[in-house]
Structure formats: C-alpha cells, structure tokens
C-alpha cells in the first residue's frame, strides 16, 4: 500500500514537471513576449533593454529553470491585465470559490447518485428503477447552460426562493451546484446501477447469502465495495474538471471562479496569469487523481499489491 502510494506520488510529480515545461513554452509560442508587452511605437533599443532586463537573451533552458524556481515559490510574476496584482495571487483569490462549488456539487451528486444507483439495481425493473432512469436521462440530455437559466428562471425569478447569481451564503450555491451536478448524478447513477447488477449476479454474492449474511449487508458491504470501482473510475476522470470549475456555470451564475479568470486572462493575453492558472489547475487535477488512486487501492486489494 505504502509502496503503491509512493510510486503514484512520484508519477504525479513527474506529470507536474511536464506541465511546467508546457506552461513555460506557452509564453514563447506566440512570439517574444516583449512584442506583446511593448507599445506599438517603441523602438528597438527599448525592446533590447527589456529583453535583457527579463533575461530573455539567455538560453531557453536557463530561462526555464528560473521560471521553475519562481513557480515553486508561487511566483508567476505580476498580472498584465490586472495592474498591481500578482498572477498567483489572482488565482488563489478565485480558487476557494471554485473548489467550494465543485466540492459541494460532487458531494451532493455522490450522496444522491450512489444510493439511488444501488437501489435501482436491487429493485431492477420496478417503478423506482424507471424513475431513476428518467432522472438520469434528463440529466444527460439537458445542456447545463440551459438548465442553469431555467433553474434561475423558476427558483429565483418566479418563486424567489433562491438568489439568481453571485457568490454569497449557502443558498447561492444550490442552483449552480444542481446545474453542474445533475449530469454527474446521471452518469454516476447509471454506472453504479450497472456495476451493481453485474456484482449482484456473481458467485461470491451467492456465497455471502449461503453464509447467512443479511440481505442489507450483502448489498451495502459485499456488493457495493466491488461495484464502487466503476463509478470511482469515472470520478477520477471528472474530479479534476469539477474542482477547477466550469466556464459555463460560472458565466451563467456569475460565480467568481477560476475559469472566468482563465478566460479573461486568455482574452487579455495575460501570460503570467495564464501560466499560474495552468499550473494550479494541473496541481488540482493531480491531487484529485491522487485521492482517487488512494481510494482505488483502499477498495481493491488487487491494485494495492501490484
């Protein structure tokens, strides 16, 4: 187990390093940053001065190591668009809002989808199963920007139950979390259901019943621990993107998250901020995947002992 986690962590570090190379290369892909930064009427001496000042005349690998060294200290330079703020500071300022919403959405989705998926398998082909199917179908079919607008229209504009947009108290999170999570609920539910159906049909479930294990324990312990691997894999795929937010949801609900920041930074060619966003997102993805890998190992001993 320990060995497995150490290996996974080292792999994650390697991935992060690769991403730092990409982030570094990004600023050089659109030509010299100097051209982008200087006003159109600046002369060649001006450009040469800036090039020397920023070390852009040094070899690329040297520039990369300087970038890496700074990045490790959380220093991506100052923002170009938002004067007087550091790039990383901007990201850090927005990150809590994104993680809060993503975390809330994913927790609520799991709390709903897992039990419903399990029960849909247990009560296969009953009205309960059909209702679950309908909920899942709706979730998969409705685009989230549309769902978001409809939710605002019903619950904020007409019923006045919840605020329309922005970040505030708990009530502000409900609508965006539904708009964001419904699709995931659908996917989780269906995956859990089909995994449970397969597991419930297996010989070891038969053996558990032969042993005299009560049905409830057969389902929620013996079967679920096996079936959970499939939805967990899916969670691994989506966890990163959920915790880094959604442009659509943040736009519809004016949620001050990192994705909006990223879009604004890209539009303004604000490379320090873009780099900070990319590296931070990579970090979030990697941490999320590390958590999933750990859960994997907890659930399935065959992975643990590889």
């Amino acid at each position: 187990m320990k060995r497995y986690l150490v290996i996974r962590s080292l792999q994650s570090l390697l991935a992060l390093l690769a991403i730092s190379v990409i982030a570094f290369a990004m600023s050089h892909l659109t030509g010299s940053p100097v051209d982008a930064m200087l006003p159109d009427d600046a002369g060649p001496e001006e450009a040469a001065r800036l090039t020397r000042l920023w070390g852009l005349d040094r070899p690329l690998y040297e520039q990369y190591f300087v970038f890496l060294g700074n990045a490790l200290q959380g220093n991506f330079g100052d923002s170009i668009k938002w004067q007087g703020q550091t790039a990383f500071g901007l990201v850090l300022e927005r990150l809590p809002a994104t993680i809060q919403l993503g975390g809330f959405a994913i927790i609520v989705s799991t709390i709903i989808a897992l039990p419903v998926g399990v029960l849909a398998a247990v009560y296969k082909d009953t009205p309960f199963d059909s209702a679950g199917k309908l909920v899942a179908l709706l979730g998969q079919a409705m685009p989230n920007f549309w769902l978001g607008i409809v939710l605002i229209w019903i619950f904020a504009v007409h019923l006045h139950w919840l605020p329309t947009s922005g970040r505030g108290g708990f009530s502000h999170m409900i609508l965006p979390a539904i708009a964001m999570g419904w699709f995931q609920v659908a996917a989780f539910m269906r995956l859990t259901r089909s995994a449970m159906l397969e597991v419930l049909d297996s010989e070891y479930i038969k053996l558990a019943r032969i042993k005299g294990v009560p049905e409830r324990r057969v389902i929620w312990v013996h079967a679920l621990k096996n079936a959970a691997i499939a939805p967990l894999t899916y969670f691994g795929v989506i966890a990163g993107s959920i915790f880094t937010g959604s442009v659509v949801i943040e736009t519809v609900f004016a949620w001050p998250g990192t994705r909006l920041l990223a879009i604004d930074a890209i539009r303004g060619r604000d490379f320090p901020v873009i780099q900070a966003v990319v590296v931070t997102f990579a970090g979030v993805f990697i941490v999320a995947n590390l958590i999933v890998d750990t859960l994997y190992a907890y659930l399935d001993p065959r992975i643990r002992y590889q």
Binding site: Y204, K206, G212
Partner: protein, 339 residues
C-alpha cells in the same frame, strides 16, 4: 414412528421449483424427493440443466429471485420444514445448519475482502463472540481444511491464492460453524485432477470426523463412485432413478442411467468412438407428455409417449431402496413403489 436418531438429517419431499422465463413458466424442479442420513453422502447426478443446482438452492431457499420460486413440497431439516420458516429464521439455518460449496473457487470468494474477513464473517454470523475468538476459530477452520500456515494466510486476498487453496477456504467458510448438512455443487469440477482427488479426500476425512451429511451434486460418475452412499439421477427436473450407489452401478434400472454409465469411457478399453446419448434433453417449455426420456430412449414403447411412468421399486431391496420411473421395469422383480 421413527426415533429422531433414525430420522434423516435432511429430507426433501415432492419439491417443485418454478422459474418464470421469457418462454413461459417452467418447472425446473418437478416433484423431487430424496433424503440423506447423518454421516451419509447422497449424490445427485444429471446433465447441465437437469435441475440439480436449482434443487440444491431450493433447499436453502436461495433460488434466484424474483424469477424463481418454490411452488410446493417440503424440505425437512431434522424434521423441521424449512419452507415454513421466515426469512430471518432461514438466515440462521444458512451457513449454520446447512452450508454449501459452489462450483468455481475463482469466483466464489469476494475479491475485495481478505480471507480472514470472509471466514470470520461466516463464523461470526452465527456466534456471539469477541472478534479475537472469532479470528481464532477462523484460523482453526482453515487448519481443518488443511490450509498451510493459516495464521498468515488470513491476511491474504483471494487473488493471492491458487484455485485449490481458494476452494479450501470456501470449505472453511462452509464448515466454520459445524453444519450438519453440506451441499457441494460440483466442488471439484473447476480443479485439476490431482487437486480434485485431494479435495475429495479432505471432504471424506471431515465427514468421518464430524458425521456431516453431504449432498454431492456432480455429473461425474467417477466422483459418485468415490464419494457417495446413495445416488439420485435427475433428468429434466425429475429424479428418474434413486438407490444405493452399488445398486445403481451394478444394476442400473432406468435407460437414462444406463446411458450415462455407458458414456463414461473405460480406461482399459481402446475405443474408436466415445459413446454419447443421442438427441438433446427436452426443453422445459416443451416437455413430452409421457416419459421425458422417451425421445432419446432405445427401449421406448408406445405407452411411454403418453403416460409418465409409474415409480417402480426393486422388490429385493424393498421400497425406498432402489427405484426408477420406467415402464420397461414392469416385470416381477419390480413392484410399484410406496413413495
């Protein structure tokens, strides 16, 4: 009245289990009766689909729900009818008084729980004891089925064990609470021949030590000869011949039993073609009106097509000894059976 000690450990009377399939309601087990005494081994022999596994699961009332259900009959465990028990009472029977070993050890153990967890759970279900005691008993149970170094093996997971070793663990799970009846559903079919022999030996030894009654489901007459005292031959949901193992081997009465015995190739003989029974077993949704074996039978008569044969017992062994469902047996040696 027979005294309790003479009472069979388990007696199945006129059991009928139906399955609701897409092609209609079928009687997978159709009026089956058999019994097994204390310390005795009953073999249930038949082809795939003859209803032997469903009959076994019916005893534990674990037929696949909701499609299958037990329509009538009695399952008497020490005289108590299991079919009248509540689900809760039934749970106290499963694993405690009647246990079962399944066919494929590769799939019978839960891959995500340790061996220890699974054996401890089986014992703990039926014993109120501290965990430490349960673990000790689990280790003992593993030792009884000859798992080497059980103290260490309890921490292993199924994927770290061989097939034969896994089947021993399944045995430890089944025998952990010292049941009086063990149903073994082709427990050695998935094992290779040497491991198979060891496993059968092990079951025999444990039976001798504990007086366990075994219901041995198989399609292998070699295993029957080695393990069983009595045999019930099943065909298309019914027991067509029933009797002591020696009787069945020496003077099989039902043409199906004869054909089955003929299908076992003899090692000494050099044959060009292996014997096989012509035709296919009947489909459950399209049962012949008369004898179910009639379409494949060499000695079938006109009567066999229209009337299911009477149950006839061999006079010499008395009723309940050796009997078969076949019209061809209507000769002085065979008399109508009382059962």
């Amino acid at each position: 009245m027979r005294s309790p000690s003479e009472r069979p450990a388990l007696e199945v009377r006129d059991l009928e289990t139906r399955i609701d399939t897409k092609l209609g309601l079928i009687k997978a087990v159709d009026g089956v009766s058999f019994s097994v005494d204390h310390g005795e081994t009953l073999g249930i022999v038949g082809e795939s689909g003859s209803g032997k596994s469903i009959a076994a699961l019916s005893i534990l009332r674990l037929v696949p729900k909701p499609a299958a259900y037990i329509a009538r009959g009695q399952v008497l465990l020490d005289g108590e009818d299991l079919l009248e028990k509540s689900e809760n009472e039934m749970r106290k029977v499963r694993g405690k008084r009647i246990s079962m070993i399944l066919q494929d050890p590769q799939t019978s153990l839960n891959p995500v729980f340790s061996i220890g967890f699974q054996v401890v759970e089986a014992i703990g279900m039926h014993a109120d004891a501290p965990r430490k005691t349960l673990v000790r008993r689990a280790v003992e149970a593993l030792r009884r089925v000859r798992v080497a170094d059980p103290e260490r093996r309890v921490d292993d997971f199924p994927h770290q064990m061989s097939g034969g070793m896994k089947q021993r663990v399944v045995g430890a799970i089944a025998l952990g609470s010292f049941p009086s009846v063990l149903i073994a559903d082709e427990p050695t079919t998935a094992l290779d021949v040497t491991i198979q022999a060891q496993y059968l030996r092990l079951l025999k030894d444990i039976q001798q030590e504990t007086g366990l009654s075994i219901i041995f489901i198989t399609h292998d007459f070699g295993v029957v000869a080695r393990m069983c005292d009595k045999v019930a031959v099943m065909y298309a949901g019914r027991v067509v011949e029933y009797g002591p193992v020696r009787e069945i081997f020496n003077s099989p009465a039902h043409p199906y039993t004869k054909a089955l015995l003929n299908s076992v190739p003899a090692v000494e003989e050099d044959v060009d073609r292996l014997y096989s029974i012509k035709g296919q077993p009947p489909a459950f949704w399209d049962m012949p009106k008369g004898c179910r074996f009639e379409p494949r039978c060499d000695v079938a008569m006109e009567r066999c097509k229209t009337e299911y044969p009477a149950r006839l017992a061999k006079a010499a062994t008395g009723s309940g000894g050796h009997y078969a469902d076949c019209w061809a047996l209507e000769e002085p040696e065979w008399i109508p059976s009382r059962s």
